[in-house]
Symmetry: D2
Subunit: 308 residues, 4 copies
C-alpha cells in the first residue's frame, strides 16, 4: 500500500537514507531506494509511494539541478519537510586496516572535493578513484578492490567495515539539504518557523522583471532565503527562478507576496510551506504581522463604508 512507502535517492547506506531516518515517521514506513531523483519522484507522481526524500542543495556543490528541474516541470509536487544533514565523512576500512595501509581510496565524485584537503594532509600518497555512490565505494572496499572508502559512518555496519577516521569534512558548516516531496495537499499548519518555496517564470519582455519580483517580497517585509536561476529550456538567456522565503502561505504577508508574484510573473508554481529544519523563527516587522494585516483590512472596509 503506497501510503506506507517512502522512496529516496539510493542506494541504501548513503546520506539520503541517513537523512530520511531522522524523520520520526520513517520508522513506520517502508523505505525504498531508487536509482535516481526522477525515479524517486515518479514513484510519488504515480501513486506507488506517499513521499520521496531527495537532496535539493549542498553547501559545497550548490543546488541539485535534477531535483530543482523535476520540481519545476511535469506533474506538480509539493514539499512537506526539509532535513539538514551535516556533511561528515568517515574513512571506512576492512577491520584491522591502519592508516599506513591505505594506498587506494574511493567514494562518490561529489565526496572528493569535500575530503581533498584531509587527504592531502593525512594520506598524500593515496590514489583516488570514483565510485558510483558512497555506498558502492564501501562495497568495493568490502570486496577488497580499494583500501578505504569515504562514506557516512552509518554505512560501516552494512558492509562489514570499520570507521578508521570519522568527522572528515574540509569545509566548516558543510551540510546537505533534503526535501520530503509528496503529491499536492493542504500544507501543514504554520509553526512560526516556516519556509515557502516557489518556482517563478518572469515575463520575457521586461528587463527589470527580477527587480520587480524581489520588490514583491521587500514591500511586505518577507525575507528571501535562497534564489537560484535555472534555464527554462527556451535558449540561452531564458531563466526561471527557484526561490525560498521565510514564512508560511497562511501568513498574511506571505499570501500577499504570492498573489503579487502570481500577477506580475508569467508563471508561478507553489512548491509548499513547511517547517524550517533549523527551527529559526521568522523575524516579522511589527507592521507586517497578521494582526497588522487584519487591522488594515478592517480599516479599508470601514473606509469603503464611509466610516474611516
Amino acid at each position: 500500500m503506497s501510503a506506507s512507502r517512502y522512496t529516496y535517492l539510493g542506494p541504501a547506506g548513503t546520506f539520503t537514507e541517513a537523512a530520511l531516518r531522522t524523520l520520526p515517521e520513517a520508522a513506520t514506513r517502508e523505505l525504498e531506494p531508487m536509482v535516481s531523483v526522477p525515479a524517486a519522484l515518479d514513484a510519488v507522481r504515480g501513486g506507488e509511494a506517499a513521499a520521496a526524500l531527495v537532496p535539493i542543495e549542498n553547501s559545497v556543490e550548490g543546488g541539485v539541478t535534477t531535483t530543482l528541474d523535476e520540481l519545476a516541470a511535469g506533474e506538480p509536487l509539493m514539499i512537506y519537510r526539509e532535513v539538514l544533514l551535516p556533511i561528515a565523512f568517515a574513512l571506512l576500512v576492512r577491520p584491522g586496516t591502519t592508516l599506513a595501509d591505505v594506498k587506494t581510496v574511493t567514494g562518490h565524485p561529489v565526496a572528493q572535493p569535500q575530503v581533498r584537503k584531509w587527504l592531502a594532509a593525512h594520506l598524500p600518497h593515496a590514489a583516488w578513484e570514483s565510485a558510483a555512490s558512497n555506498a558502492d565505494g564501501a562495497r568495493l572496499v568490502q570486496e577488497g578492490r580499494y583500501d578505504g572508502a569515504f562514506a557516512g559512518e552509518f554505512a560501516a555496519a552494512t558492509y562489514g567495515l570499520e570507521p578508521l577516521v570519522t568527522d572528515i569534512h574540509d569545509a566548516q558548516n558543510a551540510a546537505t539539504r533534503f526535501v520530503l516531496v509528496g503529491r499536492p495537499a493542504r500544507p501543514a499548519a504554520p509553526t512560526g518557523a516556516d519556509k515557502t518555496s516557489l518556482v517563478l517564470w518572469l515575463r520575457a519582455d521586461h528587463p527589470g522583471a527580477l527587480l520587480e519580483l524581489l520588490q514583491e517580497y521587500a514591500v511586505r517585509g518577507v525575507n528571501m532565503m535562497r534564489i537560484e536561476s535555472r534555464p527554462t529550456g527556451e535558449g540561452i538567456g531564458r531563466y526561471c527562478f527557484s526561490v525560498d522565503c521565510e514564512g508560511h502561505i497562511t501568513d498574511r504577508r506571505v499570501g500577499e507576496v504570492l498573489m503579487g508574484l502570481k500577477r506580475v510573473c508569467r508563471g508561478v508554481r507553489f512548491l509548499g510551506s513547511y517547517p524550517r529544519a533549523d527551527k529559526v523563527a521568522a523575524t516579522v516587522r511589527p507592521d507586517m504581522t497578521d494582526a497588522a494585516f487584519t487591522d488594515a483590512a478592517d480599516w479599508l472596509n470601514r473606509c469603503q463604508d464611509g466610516r474611516p
Copy 2:
C-alpha cells in the same frame, strides 16, 4: 435644512462660486459664502451644511495650505467631487471706461502674479493695489475707488461693471482645483476615471520611509498624481504628506495600496475616492486589473487547499 445648503469660500462673485455653479446639484441648493475655508468646513462638520466647496490647489500658486491642513486635522471630512476651473481674468470697469482711462487697478493678491505680464504689456503705467478678494475689488471699482478690477467675468453683472478685456492669464493652462467636501459617507461608485486622496504620516524613526511609501504605490502599478508635504506641527523636519493617486478605493489595486500604507505609515487619513474632473480613465497594467487580483486570490486559495 442643512441637506439643502452648500457653503463655499466667499465672498459671492469669486471663482469659488463660479466653480460651485458648474455642479448640476448646485442649482437646487442654497449656496452660502463663508469668510474662510475653516468657516466653510466647520459648517459641514457642525451639520449646518451638507457640503462645502473650497479651493485646494492652484497651478500657479500651489496647494491651498489652509484647505490641506483643515482636511488633515480635526473632525474627519471626505472629498466627493473635484472641479477644475481655468483661470482667466476679466478687467472689469465702469461702463464707458476705455483702456486709456485705466490708471489704477486692483484685485486679490493671488491674482497679481497671474496678470503681471499682461499688465506690463498693456497697462505698464497702471498702479496696482490689493483688495481683500476679487469680488471686493470689483465693488471698489463700482464705488469709484479704482479704475479697473481683475476678477472673473461672471462678477461684472453683480457690480454693474463691464468686462473691458477678457481671458487674461499670464500662464497657459492655468487652473484652480476645487473640492466638494462633506462628512464621511460611502464613496460614490467608481466611474473608471477616479482619484483617491489620502493624508499620510510617516514613522519618525525611518529615513527611507518616503521611498517605502512610494513603493507601496509602484508595486501595485498605481500612479501617483500629486504629493505635497505639510508640517505636522511637531517641529522643523517633521512632515506629513497629502497624496492623490489614480483609481478608486474599490479598485483592488488601490485597496491593497491603502492597506499597505495603513501598515507602514504612522497614520493614514482617507479623504475620499471621487470622479476626476478631467475624466481621464486610469491606465491599468494588465497584471493590476481587478480580474488579475481576483485570479491571484483564487489561486492562493487553491494553493492553501492543496490544489495549486
Copy 3:
C-alpha cells in the same frame, strides 16, 4: 558699497531681523529691510546687496512659497547659511497695561494660529485683528489702536512697549527656518554637518519618475530631509520639487547623487551646500564614505588596466 549690505524681509523688528542678527557677520553689515522676499532677493541679483536673509520654512505654516518659487526661477541664486529661530511670541503692551486691560490684540496673520490656544486659555474674550506684520502690530499698540500685539520680545524697545507675557507658542518645537542667499559662488567648505538644496523638474512622460528620483538618493545612502512640491506653472498636475538632503556637494556620495539627478531629471538647479543650523553630523554608512568611493574608483581603474 554692496558687499557691506545685507537685505532681509522687513520691516525692522520682526523675526527675520532677529534671525539675521544671530549671524556673527551681521554685526559688520548694513542691514536693510525690504518690503517683500522678491525685493530682498532682487537686491542681491542686482548687486545692490551681498546677501539676503529670507524665511523659507515654518514648522507651523509650512514652506514659504514665495521664497521657494523665487529660488527656483529667474537669475540663479545660492544658499550659504541657514538659521533656525524658535517661534516664541511676547504679548507687547504699553507700560502699565495688565492682562485684565487687554481687550483687543493684533499681530501678523501667520501669528494667529500659533497663539490661538494661548489666547483661548488666557484672553478668551480678546478680539483679534490682523496687522501687516508683527512689527506693524507693535506700532499700532504704541499708537493706542490695540491693547496688545503678538511679536518678538526684541521688538518691545523699538516701540516703547513692554513684554507683558513672553515665550508664548501653541506648538512645542515651533521654529522658522531662514536662509542667507547670495549670488552663485563656490560653496563654503564642508563641516561634516552640512545640507544640500536642489530644485528638481521631473521628465513629464514618466509616471515612476518621483520614485526614480528618491532612488538616486537611496542607492548612495544619502538621507533626504525635506521634499516640497511646487507647481511649475504649466498646469494642474505639473510639479517641480524643492529638496534638501544631508551632506555637502564635495562629499563623493552627494556628488554622485547630483550627477544621477542631473541625468534622469528634466532639470536640476543647485541651490547650495551649507552648514546645518542644528549642527547634527550626517550619519554616513561605512560603504558610502569618501574613502569607500575612492577605493572603488581605484579598483575600477585597476580592473580597466587588467590588474583587478
Copy 4:
C-alpha cells in the same frame, strides 16, 4: 611556448573543440585538450597556456558549476571572448549501418536529456548506456561496442564513422555558451555589443542585500542578463552570485555600477568585459549614455566652482 597554446575541455572531437575552432585565432594556436575544466584553467594560471576554452552555461542543463566555481576562487582569471554553439547532435554509426540496425546507443550523460524525445520517436527500443564523453562514445562505436553514438557531426571523421541522422536536438534554440579565459589583462576595446561578468559576495548581515545589488544596476539603466547563485562554502544559506550584464567596463554607466557594487558588496571579482557572441548592441537609455554622464560631471564641477 605558452602564448601559442590554448587548452580546452577535452577530449578532442567534442563540442568544446568545435566551439574553439570557431575563433579565428584558433587556426594559429596549438590546441590542447585537458581532462577537466580545472586542468584547462590551471594550465592558464601556471603559464603553460595563453588561454582556455571552457563551457560555462547550457540552455538545457544550466550553469556549468565547475567553471563558475573555478572562476570565482583561486588565482584570478578573466574572460576575453564568448562562443555560442547551437546544440545539435548527429547519430554516428559505422559505415553501412541503417536505422533499423541500431539496437544500442551511447553518449555523454548530459546528451541523453537532449535527445530523449528523438530517441522515443525514432528508436524507441534502443538501449542507452552512458559514455565518459561524446567523443568517447564515438570511439566505442568504432570499436563495435555500441551501434550508434550521439556526438557532434564533426566527430565522425576522427573515428571513421558516418552521420546517419544530423541536427538532432529535443529543445528549440538549445545552445551551449563557452568562454575563453586568460590571465588578467586590459579588456579588449568596447564594440557597442559587450557583456561584463562579475562574481559578487553580499554582506552577510543584510537581508535586503540582493535587492540593493539589483538596484545598483537598475539606477544606472544597466540590463542584467544572467544571475546565478553559488554556495560560498560557508554553509547552507550562504551564496555568492555570478552575474552578467550588458555593456563594457569602460562605459560610464557600467563603471559606476561596478564602483557601486564594490562599495556595497562584501566582495567583487571582475571577470572581464568582452564582445557578446550574439552581437546584439546594448539599448542605452538617453540619460545613461557616456555623453549624459560627461555632461553631468561637467555640471557638478561647475556647481562646485560656483558656476551652476
